[in-house]
């Protein structure tokens, strides 16, 4: 949310601050819209189920290929040992059951993403909060943000109202990159959809390429989740969790000296 439309509360009284009060450290502000909060927690459940059932499906044939075809005698670019039971759904081997979960929650994942993208287009979330400006794309700005992250110096006060550019890159990468990729490559593995939408095969270079990209996109989402949770812990887990549950976020106080 931007300073312009964020609702701030005075840190002392807890009452909503006057709209012309400048946001400053310690102030409670409305950070996340309801649609963002709902989608976030739905995704936590959905992506966990998709990952764990996906690992069980992978276990049925833990080899990855490029191109249209690929089986045991063909060259696999990656072969992994089977994932352990604590990482899979169900925990003991059942390809059939994993597919039941995976293919049902695939609808939840895809429809929720579609709904969230449409909602975010309409309410300005993409334009105001996620759009990366020309100034932010400048190498000097990107580099400063990298250095700030490396020093664990996070924005405070009014600056914390907005996502920093690395955050925007991560969120945009997931929203417009990894999630559409994981969904489309998943659809590309369907022989029924190969008949209906053959361009998907051309887009990803064949069914086995799509299967490899599906796995890599899932790995990318796991990496995102690890970094995401790490950043939440470093930035103050209680404040961050509250903001994603209730929407209210306490702006970190400005550093007095450095």
């Amino acid at each position: 949310m931007t300073p312009a439309d964020s609702l701030a509360r005075d840190p002392a009284s807890g009452q909503p601050a006057r709209s012309d009060a400048a946001p400053r450290g310690g102030m409670l502000v409305r950070r996340h819209r309801l649609s963002t909060r709902l989608w976030h927690w739905l995704n936590l459940v959905t992506l966990t189920i998709m990952l764990m059932s996906g690992l069980m499906i992978f276990n049925a044939h833990p080899r990855l290929y490029w191109g249209a075809y690929g089986a045991n005698r063909d060259h696999a670019w990656l072969q992994l040992p089977r994932f352990p039971g604590w990482a899979t759904l169900p925990s003991s081997y059942s390809l059939a059951d994993a597919r039941i979960w995976h293919l049902a929650f695939a609808w939840v994942l895809a429809l929720a993403l579609l709904g969230y993208l449409l909602r975010s287009l309409r309410n300005g979330h993409i334009r105001r909060d996620l759009h990366i400006t020309a100034a932010e794309w400048r190498p000097a700005h990107l580099w400063r943000d990298v250095v700030d992250h490396a020093r664990l110096r996070f924005p405070a006060g009014a600056a914390a109202l907005r996502y920093n550019v690395l955050q925007k890159l991560a969120y945009c990468g997931v929203l417009f990159g990894l999630l559409p990729l994981v969904i489309l490559t998943g659809l590309t593995m369907s022989p029924g959809l190969n008949a209906a939408l053959p361009w998907l095969l051309d887009l990803f270079g064949g069914r086995q390429s799509a299967r490899s990209l599906h796995f890599l996109a899932a790995a990318g989402l796991v990496l995102f989740a690890l970094v995401h949770v790490t950043m939440v812990v470093l930035a103050g887990p209680v404040n961050e969790l509250r903001s994603m549950i209730t929407g209210w976020y306490r702006l970190p106080r400005e550093r007095s000296h450095d």
Binding site: T48, I49, M52, I57, F58, A60, H61, R63, Y65, A68, Y69, G70, A71, N72, R73, D74, W86, L89, P90, S91, S94, L95, A96, D97, R99, I100, W101, L103, A104, A106, W107, M189, S190, P191, G192, L193, N194, A195, A196, L197, P198, L201, R207, Q208, R211, V233, L234, G236, P237, V238
Partner: protein
């Protein structure tokens, strides 16, 4: 940092505990019949959406340059448990007859020669095993629709059941498709693969190719085709060996 470390540790413990509960919970939900039924209702959404999007669209076809160097055989690699099939194999399937019965006006018994005399469709397609691997092969044989029209389905017929000679246990393999897939132009009874008579490990003398679905639908060692009004009463009632045995989806377009 303003958050005390102990709170972080607490959060970590809570997260680990939640993870354990999640695992146990998912396994429990997985066993609940009501939850399974809800999850499995997605199969109808797959069927409806794919039929809506695809209609009678053809599965992609490839060229000889795309053929898998070594086409892995799915399912059983022989049907030695069936004495009739063994006898037919020993005589080169000369006396083998494909039986088409059930809800048809004229039950048929077709020899390999008779099946080969029908117009043959040749198609190079990709076979996708439910496990995840794929292989490209060239298949040739009569369209199933040609055979069905010769027998004339009765109005009540809704499904074609393929009774096979191979088995994983006491029950012979079986699979079923509906009439939309049965009359799809690429649905053939393959008698040849890569220009040769169908090899034993790929289902000799005849196997189903239903190209918009996964490998377990491609019934091998087909002995009999039965037209039925419903899948109820066929073994476990779910329409196929793996469907009954392990709860794989009957519609395997995904």
């Amino acid at each position: 940092m303003t958050e005390p470390v102990s709170r972080r540790a607490l959060l970590g413990t809570v997260a680990a505990g939640a993870g354990g509960l999640l695992l146990a919970g998912c396994d429990r939900v997985n066993r609940s019949p009501a939850a399974r039924a809800l999850l499995q209702s997605a199969e109808q959404a797959h069927l409806a959406s794919q039929r809506l999007l695809g209609g009678q669209a053809l599965a992609p076809e490839f060229t000889r340059a795309d053929l898998s160097p070594d086409f892995r055989a799915n399912g059983n690699h022989q049907a030695n448990g069936n004495p009739d099939w063994v006898r037919h194999r020993e005589s080169g399937f000369a006396d083998w007859r494909l039986r088409l019965d059930g809800l048809v006006l004229r039950p048929l018994e077709l020899s390999l020669e008779a099946l080969r005399a029908l117009p043959q469709r040749r198609q190079i397609t990709r076979h996708d095993c439910v496990e995840g691997w794929s292989a490209i092969g060239e298949w040739a044989g009569p369209q199933l629709g040609t055979i069905l029209r010769a027998a004339t389905l009765l109005p009540a017929a809704r499904y074609l059941v393929f009774h096979c000679a191979d088995s994983f246990g006491p029950v012979p393999y079986y699979e079923s498709i509906d009439l939309i897939d049965a009359f799809h132009p690429q649905t053939i009874l393959a008698l040849a693969m890569n220009g040769q008579p169908l090899p034993v490990r790929h289902g000799a003398p005849a196997r189903l190719r239903v190209e918009r679905q996964l490998g377990y639908k491609q019934a091998k060692y087909v002995m009999r085709i039965e037209a039925r009004a419903t899948l109820a009463g066929l073994y476990g009632g779910k329409g196929g060996y793996w469907e009954d045995r392990k709860d794989y989806a009957w519609y395997a377009g995904i």
